[in-house]
């Protein structure tokens, strides 16, 4: 019985994953090499060309997604780190209040938040219209339907996923360790660079995982805030599935994206030295 306990513990979660993740995944792998259409049905023909065609046709969107994901992630790190640092070291007794504030946007639907951005940033909306009529902005100034708007939306929507893990890592840094560094002749800057930053890297690593992946495969921000030139691979997949109902191409695109993300993440982990990252995180 004792030996079985651990297995019994993972059984419910394991079953859940098998039924709702692994099974559909296998099913989708099979779909991705089929041919046909919705009306006449799809037939398994091991049509690998679904992959090569999709990749060839949508190379731009793939690249664009990667660039948006990368830029968005870097921006998120730059914005999130100071916030997390401030809450962890200067938050005092109100830390949990500040964390709640960070999480507050989650209480509003993701789509709704993005739509309200569209409303705010509209060419003649409540922000730009007064500025334009006052002559402070040129009449043709616009933010919507630009790369800036899409990346801005991505960063805005995923920022808490970067703040939280960095906060957790910083929170675990013993303040007396920082004092020890200062005691040992390190300036404030040096103490940050040599002690705080390295000790918080596991948090940054986790934050990158939690933001880069969903940012790269996001389609809501590009659909609402972007224009035709900002289409991301997520939008293509959505269109293939829901509009064109070309399930095999949609599935092939999805798996290509998944593979690309996995390769990217593993490359990143290797470059950073997983051993160190995991070790530090396990502290």
């Amino acid at each position: 019985m004792k030996r079985l306990t651990p297995y019994l513990l993972i059984l419910p979660g394991g079953l859940w994953l098998v039924v709702f993740l692994v099974v559909p995944l296998i099913f989708m792998v099979s779909v991705s090499t089929q041919q046909g259409d919705v009306v006449n049905g799809f037939v398994q023909t091991f049509h690998i060309a679904n992959y090569t065609d999709a990749l060839g046709q949508y190379r731009t969107q793939f690249l664009r997604s990667a660039v948006y994901g990368l830029v968005g992630t870097v921006l998120a790190i730059l914005l999130a780190y100071p916030v997390a640092y401030w809450i962890a070291f200067r938050g005092g007794a109100r830390k949990s209040t500040y964390l709640l504030l960070v999480l507050l946007p989650f209480f509003v639907s993701f789509v709704l938040r993005t739509v309200s951005w569209k409303f705010l940033l509209a060419d003649d909306g409540i922000v730009f219209e007064p500025l334009k009529s006052a002559g402070l902005l040129p009449a043709d100034f616009h933010v919507l339907q630009t790369t800036t708007a899409v990346i801005g939306g991505l960063v805005y929507n995923y920022l808490p996923f970067m703040i939280l893990p960095i906060y957790v890592a910083l929170e675990r840094v013993d303040p007396s360790v920082v004092e020890a560094a200062q005691d040992l002749y390190a300036s404030r800057v040096a103490a940050f660079a040599r002690i705080v930053l390295p000790l918080s890297l596991p948090g940054v690593f986790a934050g990158v995982l939690m933001t880069f992946v969903p940012m790269t495969s996001d389609y809501v921000n590009a659909a609402i805030l972007g224009g035709p030139d900002n289409t991301m691979i997520g939008n293509i997949i959505q269109t293939e599935y829901l509009v064109n109902q070309d399930y095999p191409v949609g599935a092939a695109l999805s798996f290509t994206l998944m593979a690309a993300l996995l390769v990217g993440i593993f490359g990143y982990a290797r470059a950073l030295g997983t051993q160190n990252v995991l070790e530090a995180a396990a502290r």
Binding site: D183, Y185, A186
Partner: protein, 381 residues
């Protein structure tokens, strides 16, 4: 007792308060604002620590020891007062520009660095040449007996080893003074005692001024050249261990340092500097060198091991007090007696078991307590 002798043995070498103390606090006050209220953690401390001295700050929890030490290190700005290191006013100098190093109670080792990197950290910041760093770190690791463990991470080491890394990391910089905040607090008793000897040896070897914070009176008595006993943000007494133990300046010090008996009486007369305090019908107390006049009411302390217990009335110029044994506790090499006096006071007496078992008293026995006049010490308050 033997451990106290060890501590005082070293006194001869020290408290030579040379004109410029290594560390000087001058009327230092530290106030914190906690929930709108001003809390005085340190209420005005002035003291000087001589170069090369092993100086202890001793006191109960919350008395301001850590705060005092953090002001010396530069982590707290005094609300008032001046901190000087070797005569230089450093009150506004940040910690990284002060030539003192601190050993933290939690060690505060850098978890992501090896032992070697930890120890080399300060020298690297000071831009010492690589060859010199290698030499000094190697030599220091040898002193703390950690050679061969250079590549370990702190968390792969035992508490005592981590403690020694923390010590090496501070000492390798050859600071003017080393500040240690309860450095042995996290260790078990056995390791603690071993490390006490080790610390003392290292201090002798490197000849650096140590300021040692502890709330363990035994530790302070055995290791220090001088002790500042703190209570509630103030220094109650600053003296060598033996003096603190045998001539406590205040009732607080007497009570805090080991067990002590406090007896009060009115001075009847002073003969050759020895005050005579008759106790209504149950004896007298003689107190040598008591700075007082006839008619004054004073409190004297006497240590339990200075008192002799006997069944016959003692003769000669000694304090002699009669009482009834209310408790006997067998302590192995000695017995501890609690003796009740007619006025309700209780006196603790330690008696060696070695010789003459005839002096053993039983519970309920009426006994005489006696001690030499110079073992009664009149205290301030």
């Amino acid at each position: 007792m033997s451990n106290i002798q060890a501590g005082t043995g070293a006194v001869a070498a020290v408290p030579d308060l040379s004109p410029v103390p290594a560390i000087e606090l001058d009327g230092v006050v530290k106030e914190y604002l906690a929930r709108g209220e001003t809390v005085q953690a340190v209420k005005g401390v002035s003291l000087g620590v001589a170069a090369g001295e092993f100086f202890s700050l001793l006191g109960p929890s919350g008395c301001g020891k850590t705060t005092t030490m953090r002001m010396i290190a530069g982590f707290e700005d005094p609300t008032r007062g001046v901190v000087r290191l070797h005569g230089r006013d450093v009150t506004d100098v940040p910690p990284n520009k002060r030539d003192v190093n601190m050993v933290f109670q939690s060690y505060a080792l850098f978890p992501h660095m090896s032992v070697w990197e930890n120890v080399a950290f300060g020298l690297r910041r000071k831009k010492v040449q690589d060859a010199e760093i290698r030499r000094r770190v190697g030599a220091m690791l040898e002193i703390v007996d950690l050679t061969g463990r250079e590549k370990r991470r702190p968390r792969e080491m035992s508490g005592g080893q981590q403690q020694r890394v923390a010590l090496a990391r501070a000492l390798v910089n050859e600071p003017r003074a080393l500040l240690l905040d309860e450095p042995l607090g996290a260790l078990d008793l056995k390791l603690r005692q071993a490390m006490q000897l080790e610390l003392k040896r290292i201090q002798r070897e490197v000849g650096i001024t140590f300021v040692y914070v502890t709330h363990d009176q035994g530790e302070a008595l055995t290791m220090s050249d001088r002790i500042a006993v703190m209570n509630d943000g103030l220094v109650e007494q600053l003296a060598a261990p033996r003096e603190i133990y045998e001539r406590p300046a205040t009732a607080f010090v007497a009570g805090f340092i080991g067990t002590s008996n406090l007896l009060s009486g009115t001075v009847e007369r002073v003969v050759d500097g020895t005050a005579v305090l008759p106790l209504a019908g149950y004896g007298r107390i003689l107190a040598a060198d008591a700075a007082c006049e006839a008619g004054a009411t004073i409190t004297v302390t006497v240590r339990p091991e200075k008192i002799t217990i006997s069944t016959e009335e003692p003769t000669g110029d000694v304090s002699a007090v009669r009482g009834t044994v209310s408790e006997v506790v067998y302590l192995g090499t000695s017995n501890s007696y609690a003796v009740g006096l007619p006025d309700g006071a209780e006196v603790t007496v330690y008696q060696q078991n070695a010789h003459d078992s005839s002096t053993t008293a039983e519970r309920g026995d009426s006994v005489w307590l006696s001690w030499q006049p110079h073992h009664s010490y009149a205290i301030g308050s």
